[in-house]
């Protein structure tokens, strides 16, 4: 077994190796971090050595983390310090943290990462070596010193110059092996005393920061220490100049003097002559110079000038300089520069500059002709403006800014050969600000005009402000809903409105004016949209309520058959804009559930009422009379019925509106209540007469509209007058007292009473049967036919109101208002 395993492993390995060998490709070898180094403690770089690349192009990435943090970063700059390096700039370098650095090599096959390297910046500091090492020997009092000078190492970031380096110098004679090291401190120069004369020395310097390591030694510099036996070094001639084209001077620079006093002599010869002369004057122009006076100066001839350094041992001659004096003229700057301000005819100031040629230059005779150039700038400006003037010694400047101070300088040059002189001293002048009466007048006029314009504009704004505003910002048009008479709404005749809407009986009788609710017709068809009118007393509530009602779905308790319900709710919501309930609603602050219920119910109601053709009605047994339950509706509880509908599905909602009873119980309780009512109804019915019809006998007393509640009149509340238990059982409802509000319900026959519902037509029209004493109900139909919409609306509203009233405080309400107590409900017909 083991053997088998072993052999299989071997085979696998073999295969792998073969594969590798065959293809020659593998994952890359492990890279190795060679070194990390910081030049100045603020940045550092790391270099790594790649391993084998496995035959494929390999990518190297450097990852690092700081101290013991988890976060891993990637190298910020790969190329800065060269290939296979990573440069950490100032922002990425923290001095007192330990970096854990790894390099990962990745190729197509795989990757390999190096061992981690822990780097503390402070420990890897090593500056570059110092640069510009220069050596000089000086001899004084028969001892020779060596002056060594150097510069600190250059940094890429030259702004940070605050590094203090410590230096060390070492020197040794060329042939020797041992170095003599001297600590220099922070100076960049050093004087070496104890030198052997005549020996060639090698010198090096290195530096260090306050932390870290010493830099590398700088490159070697050799110097030969002169002993007393060597001739002086070759001097060099610096330059020769003529200040006025009549004389000239030459300067030279001596070399090392070889340990002894060295004498310098300048020798020259002229073109075409063999004779060599010596400098006529060594003193006038200072040390290491030669002054040629007029007599010794010839023009248009070339001088061959050399300087010879002589000491006791030997002498040395400089390289010759060939000079034609004509071409080396460089004068002094011009003098007597004057600036003057003058005014033109238009009272504009202009500047007149005048100057004189330098005193030594002989311009009078024409021997020397000078060209002038001036430059000027405003005091605070950076750049000069240079103007070539020519040979004249005056200049006019016109385009200067008043109020500014200008600085002027002039220099000159001999025309056609020579150099420009130095700039003359700065001269400044202040241009006065130009204050003119004319300008002020213009400004005054402008000010007056603008103030006039402002006055005119403000006046027009005041007078016709509104129109202008309306012109600029047209008023937002309000929504217009077709089919409603806005005036009617505005006048607030609730009864009329209700009647117009077809809601009947909703507002409670007697002192229920304030309870009038305006209904919105909820219609199947699109064009039934009414602008809601707000009851004067409670517009906000109504809208609020309605708003609430729009949300039909959320947890409305027993408002189920959610889809349908929501559909219906939505529909009715859409149609219903503001339904205002009166005190009922106020009295019973609707909780959500109630609202929902209300809304749902209302919507359902409406839908049921008006939309029975649609499928929605299918969910409702609305039009259909439940077989098990007589469609009893407390007239007040269209809501109930409504609620029942979702709950029980067996309730005929439609003709429930008789009075909005305060069924403020939750839905199912309402249901129960309704159920109770229905029971009662049933009882009553049973009491009075059993009819096959399972229509609810709804007695409804609408003060203004005696049509069935379908009639789009304001719903009104009627009080039960009495319960009749004669052969035609009925609940007599009190006639509404304030019938003036709503339209009088005209009934054929004055004492007609509609005792019971005969049929429900089209699922939305309740046909009330008149009393035996009264005619049949054509009248009842009338309202139904008249303004079915109104009725519906009224119904809807009633429903709504019922809905609203139903929840919770029904009991309260019951007591408070004239609502019929369902328990005591007896269909009564007036």
């Amino acid at each position: 077994m083991k053997q088998k395993l072993r052999s299989s492993v071997q085979i696998i390995l073999l295969f792998a190796l073969t594969a590798v060998g065959l293809t020659g490709q593998s994952y890359p070898g492990k890279p190795k971090i060679i070194r990390c180094r910081s030049l100045e403690k603020e940045t550092f770089s790391c270099w790594w050595k790649p391993g084998s690349d496995g035959g494929l192009p390999t990518n190297y990435t450097l990852f690092y983390s700081k101290d013991s943090e988890e976060k891993i970063y990637e190298c910020p700059d790969y190329g800065m310090s060269g290939p296979n390096s990573c440069y950490f700039d100032k922002n990425h370098t923290n001095a007192w943290t330990t970096y854990n650095i790894t390099v990962m090599a990745t190729n197509e096959i795989g990757s390999n990462s190096s061992d981690p390297q822990y780097v503390d910046v402070t420990s890897i500091v090593q500056p570059d070596a110092p640069v510009n090492l220069s050596l000089e020997t000086k001899t004084s009092a028969s001892t020779t010193y060596l002056w060594a000078k150097w510069s600190s190492p250059p940094l890429a970031d030259v702004t940070s110059n605050s590094h203090v380096y410590h230096y060390e110098l070492r020197l040794k004679p060329e042939e020797k092996e041992e170095w003599e090291t001297v600590s220099v401190g922070v100076q960049t120069q050093y004087k070496v005393n104890r030198l052997q004369a005549g020996v060639k020395y090698v010198v090096q310097v290195r530096c260090m920061l306050d932390i870290g390591e010493w830099s590398e030694w700088s490159s070697e510099r050799h110097i030969h220490i002169p002993n007393g036996e060597s001739p002086p070094e070759k001097p060099t001639i610096i330059k020769c100049r003529s200040p006025e084209k009549e004389t000239f001077t030459c300067w030279w620079k001596p070399g090392s003097d070889g340990g002894h006093r060295t004498n310098y002599t300048l020798l020259y010869s002229k073109e075409g002559e063999e004779r060599v002369y010596e400098c006529p004057d060594y003193k006038t122009a200072g040390p290491n110079s030669c002054y040629f006076d007029k007599k010794h100066t010839s023009f248009w001839t070339i001088y061959n000038i050399t300087v010879k350094a002589t000491n006791e041992i030997g002498s040395n001659v400089s390289d010759p300089l060939y000079v034609d004096v004509t071409y080396i003229v460089q004068t002094d700057p011009p003098v007597n520069v004057t600036l003057e301000l003058k005014k033109t005819v238009n009272r504009k100031p202009y500047l007149v500059l005048t100057w004189s040629p330098p005193p030594l230059a002989d311009v009078r005779s024409g021997w020397l002709t000078l060209d002038y150039e001036l430059r000027l700038k405003p005091e605070e400006a950076e750049e000069w403006e240079t103007i070539f003037v020519g040979q004249q010694t005056h200049y006019k400047m016109f385009s200067l800014n008043p109020g500014k101070k200008y600085i002027v300088q002039i220099h000159c040059k001999p025309d056609h050969h020579g150099s420009w002189s130095e700039w003359s001293l700065e001269k400044d002048i202040q241009i006065p600000t130009d204050f003119r009466i004319k300008d002020m007048v213009v400004w005054i006029i402008v000010g007056v005009l603008s103030s006039l314009i402002c006055l005119v504009m403000s006046w027009t704004m005041v007078l016709k402000g509104y129109r202008m505003i309306a012109f600029i910002l047209p008023p937002v048009p309000g929504p217009k809903i077709k089919g409603i008479d806005t005036h009617l709404l505005e006048t607030g005749k609730s009864e009329e409105l209700l009647s117009a809407l077809g809601c009947h009986g909703f507002p409670p009788t007697s002192d229920c004016e304030e309870l009038l609710i305006e209904y919105l017709e909820v219609e199947d068809s699109e064009d039934q949209q009414l602008m809601p009118s707000h009851d004067s007393g409670h517009p906000s509530k109504n809208t609020k309520i309605i708003a609430k009602e729009t949300d039909s779905d959320s947890g409305r308790g027993s408002c189920d058959s959610p889809s349908l319900l929501s559909e219906k709710c939505r529909e009715s919501r859409a149609i219903l804009s503001t339904l205002q309930t009166q005190d009922i609603r106020d009295a019973q602050e609707n909780n959500g559930g109630r609202h929902c219920e209300t809304h749902c119910i209302a919507s359902e109601q409406k839908i049921i009422l008006f939309n029975n053709e649609s499928t929605k009605s299918s969910t409702w047994p609305a039009a259909q009379l439940p077989d098990n339950q007589p469609p009893m509706f407390a007239y007040h509880s269209t809501v109930d019925a409504h609620k029942i509908t979702p709950c029980t599905v067996n309730v005929n909602i439609a003709p429930v509106l008789a009075e909005n009873e305060e069924k403020h119980q939750p839905q199912c309780p309402i249901m129960e209540t309704v159920h109770d009512n229905m029971e009662k109804q049933r009882e009553m019915e049973n009491l009075y007469s059993k009819t096959d019809q399972s229509t609810v006998q709804v007695k409804q007393n609408r003060p203004n509209d005696k049509s069935p509640f379908l009639k789009p009149k304001l719903m009104d509340y009627v009080e039960v007058h009495k319960v009749r238990q004669d052969k035609e059982p009925a609940v007599l409802l009190k006639h509404k007292e304030n019938s003036g509000k709503t339209e009088k319900y005209t009934v054929p026959g004055t004492s007609k009473e509609y005792t019971k519902v005969s049929t429900v037509v089209d699922h939305n029209i309740l046909v009330l049967m008149p009393d035996s004493r009264i005619q049949h109900i054509s009248a009842s139909q009338e309202p139904a036919m008249e303004t079915p919409q109104n009725l519906q609306q009224g119904q809807a509203e009633k429903n709504m109101s019922y809905c609203l009233t139903v929840p919770s405080e029904c009991k309260r309400e019951t007591s408070a208002s004239e609502y019929m107590d369902p328990s005591s409900f007896i269909p009564a017909f007036k």
Partner: protein, 139 residues
């Protein structure tokens, strides 16, 4: 330079001391001395392909200028502007011809160097002359 043999004032004092006529004569002599070499030079450099066209045209321009300058100075001389007395034109031409042959043997750089110097000389002398004759104009 082929004109090195000419004795010309090489200092300011000498130039100021020398009488005007002589100075004028010198100027003319110088100008004359360069007339021939310049044309020869122009012919010579026309064959130099590496020179830019500017140089060739400039060289032609220069020889024209020299000629015109000479003509102008001669004119002035004959009109008596330079000297108060009317001198006949001393024949500078003969003097000029003799030395101009040497110029043909100069190298180009020497030629240019010598010409530069001599033109500077002429310019300086003319300026001195100008300031002597009409001192009020920027002298």
């Amino acid at each position: 330079c082929h004109t090195s043999g000419m004795l010309t004032p090489n200092r300011k004092e000498y130039a100021q001391k020398i009488p005007r006529e002589e100075l004028t004569h010198l100027i003319l002599k110088l100008l004359q001395a360069w007339k021939e070499p310049l044309s020869h030079f122009n012919q010579h450099i026309e064959h130099h392909q590496e020179l830019p066209d500017d140089s060739l045209s400039k060289a032609k321009q220069i020889s024209n200028m020299v000629h015109e300058l000479k003509t102008g100075v001669e004119k002035m001389q004959s009109m008596g502007i330079i000297s108060n007395s009317l001198n006949g034109m001393t024949s500078s031409e003969a003097a000029g011809l003799s030395i101009s042959n040497e110029a043909n043997m100069m190298s180009d750089s020497d030629f240019i160097h010598c010409f530069r110097r001599d033109s500077n000389k002429v310019q300086s002398y003319l300026k001195i002359l100008k300031c002597r004759i009409m001192p009020e104009n920027s002298c």
